[in-house]
Symmetry: C2
Amino acid sequence: MMMDARKFRILQAIIDDYILTAIPVGSRTISKKYEMGLSSATIRNEMSDLEELGYLDQPHVSAGRIPSAKAYRLYVDQLLERGVIPTGESESIHSYFEDRSRQMEDVINHAAKVLSGLTHYTSLVLSPKGQELRIRNLQLVPVSSTHALVVIVTDGGIMRDMVVEVGEGLDADALYAISRTLTERLSGMTLSEAQQALAGGSGDMHHHHRRLADNVAHFMGQAGSTSKAKLALGGPSNILNFPEYSDVEKAKGFLSVLETKDKLVDLLESQGEMAFTVRIGPETGIPELSDCSLVTATYRLGDNNHGTIGVIGPTRMHYGQVLSILNAMGQQLSILLGQYKE
Amino acid sequence: MMMDARKFRILQAIIDDYILTAIPVGSRTISKKYEMGLSSATIRNEMSDLEELGYLDQPHVSAGRIPSAKAYRLYVDQLLERGVIPTGESESIHSYFEDRSRQMEDVINHAAKVLSGLTHYTSLVLSPKGQELRIRNLQLVPVSSTHALVVIVTDGGIMRDMVVEVGEGLDADALYAISRTLTERLSGMTLSEAQQALAGGSGDMHHHHRRLADNVAHFMGQAGSTSKAKLALGGPSNILNFPEYSDVEKAKGFLSVLETKDKLVDLLESQGEMAFTVRIGPETGIPELSDCSLVTATYRLGDNNHGTIGVIGPTRMHYGQVLSILNAMGQQLSILLGQYKE
DNA sequence: GTTAGCACTCATCGCAGTCGAGTGCTAACA
DNA sequence: TGTTAGCACTCGACTGCGATGAGTGCTAAC
């Protein structure tokens, strides 16, 4: 048995209806509501076939059918093939960023809020990871007589800071001098390159201030590591709006995953450079999210940097709308965060 | 009718039992489990009195009694009067901070995690507000040809940073010179004093770089305002462990409040300088939290700064234990964050 | 003042019965 | 050969009801 055009149309109708209502869809519903020109009996036969093909599940014998993960996969693939509808969203999203803050973190947080507000799902916004960023400026700011704050400005405009121990007896001017030297030496390198350069330890300065150099190198290792990418969550409790999660146990599982952000970051990072990724149910690889879908998109920042935005919701998600909003939001973020670029 | 010692003992037993089990407490339970040397009938009479006095509520006529907010209030007040039990918690909490990060934000986040882990409630950790901090150092780090990052180090060791617009044609050295001048002028002032000093606008520099000065002043206003205090949440989903919140609607209300952090910050800040505050049910002033209690404590940072830590849970909270843990955690935070002090 | 006894209340649980949405199958029809 | 009407069947959801039992309030005796 094969999937033909009619089967596909019926499947589509079932998915649409289930996305809307979250109620198992019966043959009569499809026949009447979606004007197929077919009787419920025919639909029934087709549905039986679709079930055999693995596109539909039946919670119990006297209930309607619900789409399987495989069905959503097909649905989404079609959607992506046909291209996403980039509606007027873009403009409306733009308006949410009127008071454009320049702080990476603020932008990330705000974006997450806007995203969850627009989609009514839980949203995730991951800042670009530092790995690929190139250093533009490095400066040490004295904090105490023994510690200094490292500030690094990169071509993405992202700054990370950390307190490092410096040797005794370095006043503000000395630190500034060192900062200038370091900036000169390291400018244009990525964080990991710079880390190596420092660890390699040629140059005058390094002999005098080995400790300082080591600490700064260590910091770069940390800042450059993916784990340091900032993750903002939007509307975690949105999930509770969906009947799928009216069970407290399930909701707790979901929220717990959100709390341990590490897994999420890994998941988001694994997207790589793809414009869009849709993970349906078990495809997320996280048991607690096995009846959720995760839709992610990347936004570009500079030539070799990207961050990730995403939305988590029940598998019966408004994929089309979500993709469209993510698309618009990605563009907006690229613009907002790209404004440091010279 | 008055509250006498025996009534109080009975009330205490009821509260203890209800905190443990979340099940309405009957007269027989008290008479047997708590060895009052009184029959259930006597307890019943006393309970009836306690209800009349407003310390007990009855969900329905054939159920046991549950403590009212007024009862918890009495309970807590007694607890506070007698002094909190500062057990060995302090040591165990210390051990959670082995890898002492120096980043304010990391410490705050970690503290929230530890706090929610220890108490099994939802925890809140609010960083000290910048208002009272005194500037020790101010530095401008070039970000682009037109923007610079302001970094301020204060005597609390707290740094806030923000990108401000500077005039054209200022290179790194020029910015450093300005930074030195500003540090000299502003060092020792609080943020708001510094803001005024800058706005006042005497001094050579200000005429040349009015724009820059204005922007820095504006930043100080922001950084110093209470709204900028960082709030970390720990274990938001912990609330779902309690049967009180097995209703999804209630849980959603609770979690929504957590998402809009502003209200929480206000609530935490309103504690003022008190060592401990306990808000029971309606006392929180937030409808969604009307059957929660919020226990907060302050931790000191320097002479005139303090942050707030707190725990939110159901009204039937383990007040004694929570107070003890908050106490220990407060001390630990004071130590950790105070380590920049010269 | 305390307690035993008793009638009363009321939430909870289990159970049988009903209802109805939805199915699968068969037979007739185009 | 594909479509449809009809019908028996399934099974979850809901309803009503009696039994159960925890817990109370009241009264009378100690």
